[in-house]
Symmetry: C2
Subunit: 156 residues, 2 copies
């Protein structure tokens, strides 16, 4: 947990969330330590699960999926089967990158990346529309991305 981390561990997490291609030497300089303890700390953070994985961040516009829709979904009923059908379907759809069970008027909110409005229409009609678990869909369109850090805050 967080209280097992000292200031240097926190700095390492912040640096690597920003740029995981830093060499051990560069990271060591950033945290004012030599390479081997820095390396050992990074491995410990991986081993203990603070760092889940390392990924490349791909530009959605460049790969032709620059349109983002936040889609609020209400299930038809709140039985286990309906929820399971929905959850399994979301996990299998590539264009759905995030899916949260939420409080409020809707049951779920999903983030969908598509090429354009035509593809979104196809997604809603032919993919969501085919599911018996879904009661209603309310689409919120992203007009512009103001901020999208790929970092989680790390408490000090």
């Amino acid at each position: 947990m967080i209280d097992k981390l000292d200031a240097i561990d926190i700095k390492i997490l912040k640096e690597l969330q920003h740029n995981s291609k830093l060499t051990t030497k560069e990271l060591a300089e950033a945290v004012h330590l030599s390479a081997s303890p820095t390396f050992e700390r990074q491995k410990r953070l991986e081993r203990e699960g603070y760092i889940k994985k390392y990924v490349a961040v791909v530009d959605p516009d460049m790969v032709g999926n620059g349109m983002i829709v936040l889609c609020n979904i209400r299930l038809k009923q709140h039985g286990k089967e309906y929820a399971q059908e929905f959850v399994d379907a979301m996990k299998g759809m590539e264009e759905v990158t995030e899916c949260y069970n939420t409080s409020g008027d809707f049951d779920f909110i999903i983030k969908v990346y598509v090429r354009d409005m035509h593809h979104y229409q196809d997604f809603v009609l032919n993919r969501l529309g085919e599911m018996k678990s879904i009661g209603s869909v309310h689409s919120v369109f992203v007009i512009g991305t103001v901020k999208d850090t790929h970092s989680v805050p790390v408490a000090q």
Copy 2:
């Protein structure tokens, strides 16, 4: 753009979005090519902006910020000054990891990572509450994360 990518480029993007720690040799095996052309393709994808950066994915629970709130915000007025104050403030807040300008009843939706409800209360009252640009705030709490890939779909 996407039409400049062949099937191998797309495979490389998919693999690296899943795990950027693959060695050139491992990536080469995955795409059935030898190391040097694979390496050259990866560099090209970086150079041309398909890959924006490489990051470590940190577990929010492990670092004590496991609570997610999706916060819908309406500005008081739609003048440029108000929007600018809001946007600049969002960029400066670590707990706000995403901020989108949206269609619909609200102007923006932000994703906030906090420790617990007390911290969220503090965030709304003392951080958002201090801003003259904000008209109203509607909080949607994340009960559970069903899916959170750190990947964008790459069209085939």
